[in-house]
Symmetry: D3
Subunit: 254 residues, 6 copies
């Protein structure tokens, strides 16, 4: 079987590393690496919820994705300087928020908001799937933080694990976890967000200048589910280490 | 079998109507109706291409989706007045553009741009899938217009038909073409863009506050493919009528 | 006497049609056509008033005018995408709001807002005057709706009818209701907003690259008043039909 | 006859003063005062024209109106800080540009642009009419400057004088040149832009919470024309003084 | 010793004039002139403070700096039209606010805001230092106004005088109060904000395409302190005149 | 002598670390740490210069500073989402650009642009001085890269080293390199940008709610110069290591 440019088999993930406590201010701060793709995922807890959700008793989870200008091969303009957030950025931010809201019971948070920030330090394909995979771990740390502070109505508000992986058709072959070199010339590109209970949260597949038969969709899904299983194992291993920082004391009862 | 609120069977489309020549200025102008959802899809031809594509010899196809403020049950603010286009709007605009670019050979257009505008006059669920289905017909009319004007390098630049349909899980049942009443409480929501050659252009499925097993994905795809077949028949019937307007004379050779 | 390009006499209106209930969500929804000019005028009722008017006991009426990108002969850019509303758009929006506020007793509305949206589907000159003429009918329907819901302090808050018409000097002749072909080369262009009691609400006349004597102003006013009379008759005929939709039950007393 | 609050007769202008050379950088710089209303009107000449006018051989004249934040009785927010120009500001800017373009032969300017800036230093009603009246004088100075520099195709490109004045109905009486105290409670408000040849450039009349009969329109026009005559005399007197600054040497022939 | 282009000695200020009561609406309104540089500095009092300061019992002082488009040698674009405030403008606005907050006890103002607007009518170098020097006088007048209205907790909330002056190295010589002709080619440029008690509020020195030794910094400071002394004398003389307008009556006790 | 909260002496820097090659796409990529403050400084080379500089034969150097939302103790809003860059951000971006332009001969770069991006990953005071210190090293790497590519007119376009440090008055004592805990309550705050030849590039000192005598300024400068010496040694040590990545081959002569 022909090997990929980086030597991987078609169904092989890149080296995936998860570093918790990468920065110290947010409740969760995770550097996630899928090969050369590196994303800093933080989970910040703030009191209160957006206006449209006030007095509901429910919490909220929001996400923002962005790229540093020099993260890409060629420097790209800074969106704050342009004065508006591009369509791709908004689309990915919305995907990350939806994906992570699928695993958490917002009622258990009380009227608090968790803001997930996924900032791409270096991009080499698959930044959105890396971001979701890392954001899950940052979210888990933020939940641990809230639990220690005695702010959760339910001690375990996370119902399942979430991970995401890309899969596509390159050179006529179904391949897992595409780096930029493959992504930029893929015939089909798909992102799959899955749970560790074997279900799907989101599936987005696109033919890039080509269309694809249903049989290809099936093969891509097989590969994505297998890749997700490995990501859950890596997330679990990372989360077995103690919380990387000082946990708060429970707030005194009022 | 329990019927849906509007009396349809689970695998039944709403009444779909396609009216060509709804307005007269653009080269293609189509009013598409999926039940109470009504979208005006126009295809305007302009000379030239965006700066990043100049001197490539290739044409371009772009799309913009928008809703009139009073299209929804409760009036929503006008995006031009807010000063920015929302994330949902951009996401759908990008989807429409990608979907229609899948069926056209941009090289055949020469350095001309086709702008698809999909403006929702009345929204009752499935506006993006109605928009794609109607935009295909508007695009076909614009191509007829360009052909008559003698501006095409290839007389038949469209390689296949494109239609889109929504499918979801509501009340635990897989249902086709969701109106707002079902869409707003669906457990799973999926949009499928397909070709009349039986392949997929795009698939986007999302668990809404729930996740879904792969077997559900398969059932939804079965239903979506069957729905798309009916949409291709309706598009074909609409396009059998003559071009609704005056076709241009071929430009004289310079 | 020389006829105009479209065969009309100088003092003749184009065919004017008013279709109520064009869409179903807003309380008033009117498609108004002045020849090839077609404007969708909706009147949406929302509870509450802008912050600066709160606790005044008075209602508010606001208007927004916009053009679909493909409404004009050559596609124009979408203002939401540009990120700002152009001067012409704002000027017309302000004119429509002022004109319709002249006929309604805002105190009778209570602290409710009526939002008039005038979206031009197809432009062929006179879009602002068509918009005002159609918006009056949409407003009348919204008032009927509010009356049925038992929300009006005064059962008949509308004090007079409002209609608008353009008049100008083209080819040295005073002409009524200019289509684009005349408007674009008019020497003088005037818009007159009038009431069915014979008074003026607004008059805006401009010399386009030329100035005009007071005697011309007088002739233009004669023509405009005569045209307005015909518009009032068309509005009345349209409003004699029953309300196009289901009227609400009166809200129960609290 | 009852006098007005400031002691004037109904048909009397406020004290009008025109100071040329108020600042030194622009080719024309005029401080115009209508009583307490003070507007700085400058005319700056720049080479070139906007992109849509290039290679036409024609010049262009544009205008921008703005108010200093502290010009009004209560400080108003700065539009640059808000990030957008309000509808009223744009409407007046467009009016000023249209009005002054009526008196100048743009072909005589060559491909040069004259930018008129009308910045209100102190507002007491009638800022737009004062601005137009002052801008005419600044424009005349800019034309003198261009003539001295040898840049005009036609030595006298100005075909007539332009002045503007407000007139309204206050306390049931037709009154000329309304200060803020009258303007804010006027029943009818009208702005008239006239030429010294007795013709109209622009007329904008609005009923403010009331409508008005045609006979009132006629009386207001009588008053406005009489007022404009006086303004032309004041402009002429101001322009009889020598150019307030150093005129350029004619550019050497290339 | 070689003289400067305008005949001044190296350590000599330009003619500095301060005119109070230049406009009449704001509580303080000062035209300050440093040679050809002319800045209108107003101080407007409004009730209330920004949201983040509410219920603190403290007042607030804010400042905004701007240039009229025709203030510079070549007309510059209007920031409101561009839709955003440039970096230089914001930087100077922040500097003015910080500088004037150094002399006032915000607690004495109660929850009122003083807005300083510094609008440059004509620019010839040193606009920011002229603005600060003039804003101090406008602020002093606003405080007199608030005292007369009985709104101050402390009758004398100003603890010292504030003035600012530029100094730089031009043609190898340390020079005070640079006009545009020197500023645009200075090797070092420094702005010093000082108090009449001999202390510094702010110092900002920049090498322009060159760096400078500490000994130069010392010489520039000597010159700046000497210049500030003269400015304090001019401010004092201006403030010895009576308040230019009508002072309010004390508000009646509620 | 009383120690600071973190145990340092008044004139002691925090631990400063400089890591080159932190990311791989830009020509220079440096992680600089001043204690808990961590800034990623990248230098990206792009062909061409801004429009106003074209055909000058000169290069350009620009800088942008930004903070990740979760970099601060409390999450701050993302400027791209707000749609505008704040005054503080712009002010610091401008400072970094000016500071680094002081050490480089832009003529030697040819018409190429170096973009410095300084993104704060974690903030604990002194982010702007850390950014300048790190940006110098990133710039040096970018110059090495350009030299290897044969793109420099002058093989050594950097004339001196640049470093920056903060110094302030806290608890009445002059202290070097303030962390957030000191910075937020400092009486005087100063940033000094210096060269390794003993000269100043920029000095910005501000009394925060207090003013300061010249003698304090002198003591702060002594401390800052001593601190800068140590920073130059750390930069030199970092730059003695080989270039962290693959250098390009010289471009072939055309």
């Amino acid at each position: 079987m022909s090997r990929r440019a980086d030597g991987r088999a078609d169904d092989e993930l890149r080296d995936v590393k998860i570093t918790r406590g990468f920065t110290t201010h947010p409740a969760g701060s995770v550097l996630v690496e899928f090969g050369q793709t590196r994303v800093l995922c933080t989970a910040s807890v703030t009191e209160g919820v957006p206006p449209w959700r006030r007095d509901s008793g429910l919490g909220w989870l929001t996400a923002e994705y962005a790229m540093l200008p020099a993260a890409t091969h060629t420097r790209s303009g800074r969106e704050s300087v342009k004065g508006k957030v591009g369509g791709r950025t908004q689309e990915i931010s919305r995907l990350i928020g939806r994906s992570l809201r699928a695993c958490i019971d917002l009622a258990a948070l009380g009227e608090n908001t968790i803001a997930l920030d996924c900032d791409v330090l270096q991009a080499d394909g698959g930044t959105r799937t890396a971001a979701i995979t890392g954001a899950y771990v940052a979210l888990a740390d933020a939940v641990t933080y809230l639990a220690a502070a005695g702010k959760l109505a339910d001690p375990q508000p996370i119902s399942c694990m979430i991970a995401a992986v890309s899969v596509g058709v390159v050179d006529g072959r179904v391949r897992l976890d595409l780096p930029y070199e493959e992504d930029s010339r893929a015939e089909v590109d798909m992102n799959v967000v899955a749970t560790d209970t074997g279900t799907l949260v989101e599936i987005q597949g696109t033919g890039e200048g080509a269309t694809f038969p249903r049989s290809t969709l099936d093969k891509m899904l097989d590969s994505a589910f297998a890749g997700a299983e490995q990501l859950f194992a890596i997330q679990k291993a990372a989360l077995e280490l103690p919380y990387p920082g000082a946990l708060p004391e429970p707030a005194a009862k009022k």
